[in-house]
């Protein structure tokens, strides 16, 4: 019952968050220098053409009127029409979103697969060569920009060794796993470095905890101690970090999708910004906000499952 109440509370809290996000999106987009009518019409258009486009887009209306229209339309599921793509914003986003979600889930999965076992290995071998080697390698991953890692992987694994395609998305599920392997690894290398460091520190802290020493003194097998006591408790802070990393990962798709020619919403966002496509920028930012909020909600719920004290507080 407490769990359901907690879930409902968290969901209600998302409403003011979305409202605030919408206000910020609306104002930020309009604070961008440059006239969207000029961006649409092109440099060669006449002043009369520019004025006509401003009128057509409703940009001459007062700011408050524009916001009210944006708010009411959004609540009815109408995100407007993309200026750049000449199609409804919702359709444009829905066509590209599955690609980005696929890439994000793939990258997070790889991050966990990489970070989890290595964090354990490093923690249980604290101070030994295995620990030092793992930390040194991940330090390199952390210190290199994502686009650079991407280009290095592309050059060696795709262009020279021809092990993977240079870019693209693929047709079937397996084909997509193959096509998106390099972009997912690129993102995962950075995310897993952060996760690994945190998880390693958490495991070391839990390993020193009295309840773990008590379990050892009781003669419980190591596998049981690590699985039931150490992992579950060490994961609490790492789950928070993972949730935050997914938010960061969504913004990272702007770079990754461009370098690897992946047709997702990250690349779409870049195109929309350069074209001053207000409706599309607003729709995409809102989509990112909803996705990140949902990830945070899931993170909170998972944490409360791991640590029931959170529900009571």
């Amino acid at each position: 019952m407490a769990g359901l109440q907690y879930t409902l509370n968290r969901m209600v809290l998302m409403i003011p968050t979305f409202l605030l996000v919408m206000i910020i999106i609306f104002l930020l987009v309009r604070l961008l220098p440059g006239d969207p009518a000029i961006a649409i019409a092109g440099d060669k258009a006449s002043d009369a053409d520019i004025a006509a486009i401003r009128d057509r887009l409703g940009l001459t209306a007062p700011l408050w009127t524009q916001f009210w229209l944006f708010l009411t339309n959004t609540l009815q599921g109408d995100l407007g029409r993309s200026i750049l793509m000449r199609a409804p914003v919702l359709d444009v986003i829905l066509a590209r979103l599955p690609t980005t979600i696929f890439l994000a889930v793939y990258a997070v999965s790889l991050s966990i697969l990489i970070a989890g076992p290595l964090a354990f290995l490093a923690a249980v071998n604290r101070g030994k060569w295995q620990d030092n080697l793992i930390r040194a390698v991940f330090q390199v991953g952390l210190s290199m920009p994502v686009f650079y890692i991407g280009l290095v992987l592309l050059t060696f694994l795709a262009a020279q060794l021809r092990l993977f395609p240079v870019g693209g998305y693929g047709e079937t599920f397996v084909d997509r796993l193959y096509h998106l392997f390099l972009p997912a690894v690129t993102v995962a290398l950075y995310t897993s470095a952060i996760l690994m460091r945190n998880l390693r520190a958490a495991i070391i802290e839990v390993l020193d905890a009295e309840y773990v020493q008590f379990a050892r003194a009781k003669g419980l097998p190591s596998r049981l101690i690590l699985g039931r006591h150490v992992l579950k408790n060490a994961l609490i802070s790492t789950i928070t970090l993972l949730g935050l990393s997914i938010g960061q990962l969504m913004s990272g798709t702007l770079v990754t999708e461009t370098v690897f020619a992946v047709p997702g919403v990250g690349r779409l966002m870049l195109e929309a910004i350069f074209a001053r496509d207000y409706p599309l920028i607003q729709g995409l930012t809102l989509t990112f906000a909803v996705l990140v909020s949902l990830v945070f909600l899931m993170t909170d719920l998972f944490q409360s499952w791991l640590d029931p004290r959170m529900r009571l507080s």
């Binding site: 444009v92 395609p165 690349r267």
Partner: protein
Amino acid sequence: MKAAALAIGLAMSTALGAYTIGTADAVERGGTLNFARYDGSKLVDPIYADRNPDIWMVGSLFSTLLEPNADGTDLVGSLAESYEVSAGGKTISLVLREGAKFSDGSPVTGEDVVFSLERARNPDLGPWAGLLSAISSVAADGRNITITLENPDPALLSMLATFNTAIVSKKAFDAAPGATDQEKSAALFAKGGPGVGSGPFFLSGFEQGTSMTFSANPHYWKQGEDGKPLPYLDKVEFQIIPDDATRVLKLTAGEVDVAEFIPFSRVAELDADPAINMNLYPSTRIIYSPINTRETRADGSPNPLADKRVRQAINYATNKDALIGLVLQGAGKPMSSPVMSSSTRLAVDMSPLYGYDMDKAKALIAEAGLEPGTEITLTTLAGSADDGTIFAALQQMWAPLGITLVAEQVDGATRGAKNRSGEFDIHTYGWVDDVADPSQVTGWLGYYPTRKAVGTGWNNADFNVLYEASSSEMDPEKRADQYRQMQEIYAEAAPLLFMYETPFAVAVSGKVSGYLQTPLGNNVFENVSLGQ
């Protein structure tokens, strides 16, 4: 020196490539050409195409009535097999090609031509209607088309060979969903095919921002070298890859056959690859910088660039060859006409146009009485490596004149807004002709009523009168003379920093023959064939 040698070498390899294409013994038919583009098409409709990625694809899907001949010096029939201009220049009569068909097998009729040209000249529809403003009516009688003009227009025949007058199927438009022309056009393209084309291909696939597919029009009227209908290819698949490095990697990995917009820093490396033909196609693209010529800046302060002598001085102090070496690795040439590329018709070769002469520059600055340490702002595109290089070079080149050049980095939309409002000193800019006539670029750069002479505020009565007169002058010699005078006036006034012309750098796999990018930028696939 090395850069110059490279440029010459590449020019020769391009020329040799063209020769090889022309003398191929046997052309292989079939296959799919994979083409990596820097940006995707949004709507390839003759009248709504307003971005280069759209404009440059129109010709593959829709043919025009006329087209430029092989060397671009004259016009020949395309969907029209013949044409004739009346003595006064106010009537153009054309005869439609017998047997010309759309890709769905239906005939190209006079009704389609009237429909297409009426759309093209409707000012409530596309942005290019102004190019056809001289037309008063279009009529068809069977295969005979009559275009009547309100006043003679020397550019009109060129317009009939331009993308916006390409012929579309009235039947396909009428059947398309949507209440308005815009909705019908968008619906036809968004569906992703099968489109109904009058060109060598028709649209057979489209995913916004991701890919696009053209399939061969089985009813195309042109014949190939083997006596069978063009095109040789079955399909062209376009992939959208905005990142330069990824596009090049795709080509070198063999995943695509053609990669466009190769960064000039990679040209030499790709040219050395035996599996790739690195082509530098001559273009009408010019890179220049508009100079604000108004007496005062937007903030009300005196504008040192209002003085013609200062503008001339910075032009003399700019070493164009050095800029070409730094930015284009030698793959370009200084502008030789002040208002158009050297490949645009009626361009006057005035080279060296403000050849590097620091003594003359210093003398002009002294004569103008410019205070040492005068600050001038160069507005550049944020994130553009080329603009960064241009700024660093100009800062050093102009320092001996006592000019302190400062940079202001903005994005493209902001630069466009500043150009319109006159809130700039100098900013980087570029141009590619959309039509095969000098009127468009000349109007853009110099004719004040068009856009305040590319935002410079330069307003010269003699130039404006000449431009207006040239717009209805049907005598080719008189018109050429008017253009000569306009170029002389413009060069002397120097409302621009005259910089350089750049080619289109396209890397093509060795197995591909016959690909061409025209000086206007149009991608031509009808003669492309794939070898082993």
